[in-house]
Amino acid sequence: MMTPPEDREHLIWAGMTHLKQELDEKFEAAQQGAKTQVILNRGPFGGGKTYALRYYGFTENLPKVKGSKVRDVFVVSVATPKQTAKPGEDFYRNVIERMDMEKIRDAVAAALHEVGATEGMNKLKEITGSDNLARAVAMLAQFSDNAAENEPEADADESDEQKRLLEQYFFEGCTKLELKKLGLARNIGNAQDQFRVLGAILRCFIGLVPGRDVESHSRFCLWIDEMEDFVYFSGAQYRPFTQGLRDLIDRLPGFFTLLLNFTLTDPEEFETLEVIMGKALVDRVTDNVIFREMTQSEAIDYVDDLMRHWRMPEFGEKQLAPHFPFETDALENLIKNLPNRTPRSINKKCSVVLEKALSENKKTTKPGDITIDLDFVKSVAATELDQEF
């Protein structure tokens, strides 16, 4: 596959054991500790960063930990907004949508219920720096399904209307009349306001209980893909967005993990990161994970793992070659002649060879019949070269 799959069934981790171990360790620390993490994932194009984002996006793929750990882990991923005049604002909306309003309402209700309405409101005011924004976030709890079970039945139509208006408030804003109906003084203003609201909502997922006791809190992981696209932002777009991310990190000093995917092919890596993301954001990075190219043997392990996942049950009975359908020297030659040994490059080349082998043999094919030898791999490479010129 050239682009990472989105469905759970196809999201398997193949090879790259050191990288998996490194990422697992980060997520273990996330589950067992309170510290806020800012993890910078960097590597070449096609190196597996987006794949990792999708893989760990399914919480069953997170490493299992024993002993004291957080109650829950939430993983939300978004890509850096593209072709937009206000990337900071689009980012806020994308994150809210990915979290899902229903889950947000439930999280706010649960958080407020746990600490009590008064302490909850105080905490929300502290995080947002605004009484109005804090009240707006707290209001979400009223429309949680969990809250509805405990509350006396209100006028259903009016309740639906309030719920709809409140949702609109968080996405687009309301007219003066609509604000009055909600009992709010003002809309969420600029990007700064939006990131404060986001901070408050994330804090509700984490839990409003004071202190840093791991078992009393959950961990929220926000994963941002394609950070290299910040280069496309003008100064007016870039500053509110990076300032907002910095504010988010500073307002969530515990139980928050921000993962940033950055494609970098530049030898002057650190300098480039500072220029593109801003020194203040780079200074807050706590961990660096490098998605480097695989070695020859790691690449072969990677292909083997992938093939193993798709093997039919009868494979074991047939006594076929270990890298079937590739003969050993064929696979070694294929990997050796790749321009780079990223998962994307390997997937692409193997796909071309496998498809060609299938298309030439399909009339006579039974499972186990086709083998790809060195001559075949070389002939495919020669054909590609001819086509290029």
Partner: protein
């Protein structure tokens, strides 16, 4: 030969002017700073190209440039085709009809400005990457072959303003570079490398401001 005008002639092309529009430097548009700093001369093709751009993008705000352009427009005083034949043909440079007309006429204007004693050297201001960044780009080839002056892009001009004017603050200069960089486009890698390079140079000037402030006295 009579004593020449000591001012520096700057020949901006359409792209560079458009990319500098609205970039605020010390409460003035960067475009207008061009006219403050240099003797700006443009070929008669540039106003045409500017108008074409406005026609395609009605929201494009070029009024500030439009006011200045008429007084700086110079028509070539010699035959265009003959002049191209004299200077470009020996370098193996050929063109498709009317392509790159603004840059071509500006280049010939460079020859005219020097030959007619208007200036000794020119600053050729262009954001046309294709014609400049590759060794075979016609502007690069021409300026490498003939001693006409230097080629700048809009980001070079911003660096120049930062060097010249101490009140131009670092953060504002970084934003200005970023803005022009996004307008110049390119692949993600190319844009990233360009922004890194120019920010690096800005940092060098910024360090100099702090370490040798007397340089600006």
């Amino acid at each position: 030969m009579p004593r020449i005008n000591q001012s520096i002639v700057c020949l901006p092309d359409t792209n560079s002017l458009i990319h500098l529009r609205g970039i605020n430097v010390l409460n003035k548009s960067a475009c207008l700073w061009l006219w403050d700093e240099f003797d700006v001369r443009i070929s008669d093709e540039i106003p045409v190209e500017l108008q074409n751009n406005v026609n395609r993008n009605p929201d494009l705000e070029v009024r500030e440039i439009a006011r200045k352009v008429p007084s700086s427009t110079i028509t070539l005083s010699v035959n265009f085709d003959l002049t191209e034949e004299c200077f470009f043909k020996p370098l193996g440079i050929e063109f498709n009809h009317n392509r790159d007309m603004g840059e071509r006429k500006n280049t010939l204007l460079a020859f005219q400005s020097i030959a007619q004693n208007r200036t000794r050297q020119v600053i050729f201001l262009t954001n046309e990457r294709r014609a400049v960044e590759s060794a075979t780009g016609f502007i690069r080839k021409t300026f490498d072959a003939y001693p006409l002056g230097v080629i700048w892009n809009a980001m070079d001009f911003l660096l120049y303003l930062y060097l010249r004017h101490r009140r131009f603050l670092l953060e504002n200069a970084q934003d200005a570079l970023r803005d022009v960089n996004t307008r110049m486009l390119g692949t993600t890698d190319a844009m990233t490398e360009r922004l890194r390079l120019y920010n690096n140079r800005l940092d060098i000037f910024d360090t100099a401001r702090r370490r040798i402030p007397n340089l600006w006295v």
